[in-house]
């Protein structure tokens, strides 16, 4: 009887864990799986992928001094020091306990250590640097921690993901958990993963950050767009990263 009870508890725990992941690991599909073969080929072509223009710019910026230092002054060769880094973002900063995405971390480094002005969100320079740094983790799986201080942000992000918003009264989950793979007019609804960002979107004809993509989604459901870098986006980014755990980094992705 006792053994049975234990088994039941273990089963319940297992069910709870499985319920926590809205899309089981075996069904995880990167956004590129919902593209046409032409865009997928463009993304996989290291030369023709237009996002590589930003990656190349980022490579130059990496060793260009800004303020007192360049990124390369401390971090040396990005191919070594930045490999795998983006896969664990967003991350809680040990010193001040704040949740930072890669953009936030770069700007923190600039203002606290390099003595340089922080870069504006969505500026060409910041997109170039984030694209270059994320590129160093190409094909590595997303591995975000939601333990410790990150837990509260994760819970906030999950709540934000499930919050109905805007005139259409939709939450992220209504499309990206419940309806992915189905058609929305001419497009296939993706699972909404962040693993290719910053990405080059055909609609923008330019590179854009994950937050720009989130804002586009919010505008699509006629909800209020929050300002760049707001806490709610950061929490949501953490939830999205956790939800996409195991998917490989594809930056710079090419998207519709």
């Amino acid at each position: 009887m006792k053994r049975l009870a234990l088994a039941a508890v273990a089963l319940a725990a297992g069910v709870a864990l499985a319920q926590e992941r809205p899309i089981p690991p075996g069904d995880l599909k990167s956004g590129s799986a919902f593209l046409g073969s032409d865009l997928r080929a463009l993304q996989n072509d290291d030369f023709a992928n237009p996002g590589m223009l930003w990656v190349e710019r980022g490579e130059k910026l990496w060793s260009e001094p800004a303020g007192k230092l360049a990124c390369a002054s401390c971090h040396k060769d990005a191919a070594v020091s930045m490999r795998g880094v983006v896969a664990s973002y967003p991350k809680v900063d040990k010193a001040n306990g704040k949740l930072l995405n890669l953009d936030g971390r770069i700007n923190q480094c600039r203002s606290e250590r390099m003595g340089a002005e922080p870069l504006r969100y969505e500026s060409e320079e910041l997109l170039a640097l984030t694209a270059y740094i994320a590129r160093q983790s190409l094909r590595l799986p997303i591995k975000t921690s939601i333990e410790g201080a990150a837990r509260a942000h994760f819970e906030a992000g999950r709540a934000s993901y499930h919050l109905r918003r805007g005139q259409m009264n939709l939450s992220c989950a209504h499309c990206h958990d419940a309806q992915w793979g189905k058609r929305l007019l001419s497009e296939t609804i993706s699972q909404g993963h962040p693993n290719a960002y910053p990405a080059y979107r055909m609609e923008w004809q330019a590179m854009g950050s994950l937050e720009r993509r989130l804002r586009a989604c919010l505008s699509g459901i006629r909800a209020e767009m929050l300002p760049y870098g707001s806490q709610e986006y950061l929490d949501l980014e953490l939830y999205l990263a956790w939800r996409a755990q195991g998917l490989p980094i594809e930056t710079p992705g090419v998207r519709r």
């Binding site: 030369f47 023709a48 237009p50 590589m52 223009l53 710019r57 055909m202 004809q205 330019a206």
Partner: protein
């Protein structure tokens, strides 16, 4: 204007080589309006040409139907070692150029 060129570093004389170029440019169509309703002036790269060893081997007249950050690919025959030199100009008169050399053997 940043650009990327891809050609083989080496080729044998008479080989058909693939030449690829990707140029960073907004290719503003002239049909879009800004946030306050004013028409944004057309600004596209209108001519792109490539000279190989001083001889023009490719020329394209681009217009507003071409997407931002245009990508162009063509083929030419490897004849002698030298430079492939690209030049382009947009509606605002901004010029860009980029070159890459190839070694031809045999």
């Amino acid at each position: 204007m940043a650009a990327r060129i891809q050609i083989p570093r080496e080729a044998r004389r008479g080989d058909v080589i693939e030449v690829r170029i990707l140029i960073q440019h907004p290719m503003e169509t002239g049909y879009r309006h800004d946030d306050v309703g004013h028409l944004i002036k057309r600004n596209v790269i209108n001519v792109l040409s490539c000279r190989y060893g001083g001889v023009e081997v490719f020329r394209a007249d681009l217009s507003s139907g071409i997407s931002a950050n245009p990508y162009v690919q063509f083929y030419t025959v490897a004849e002698a070692s030298g430079d492939l030199e690209f030049k382009w100009i947009d509606d605002e008169g901004q010029q860009g150029s980029e070159r890459q050399s190839i070694v031809v053997k045999g």
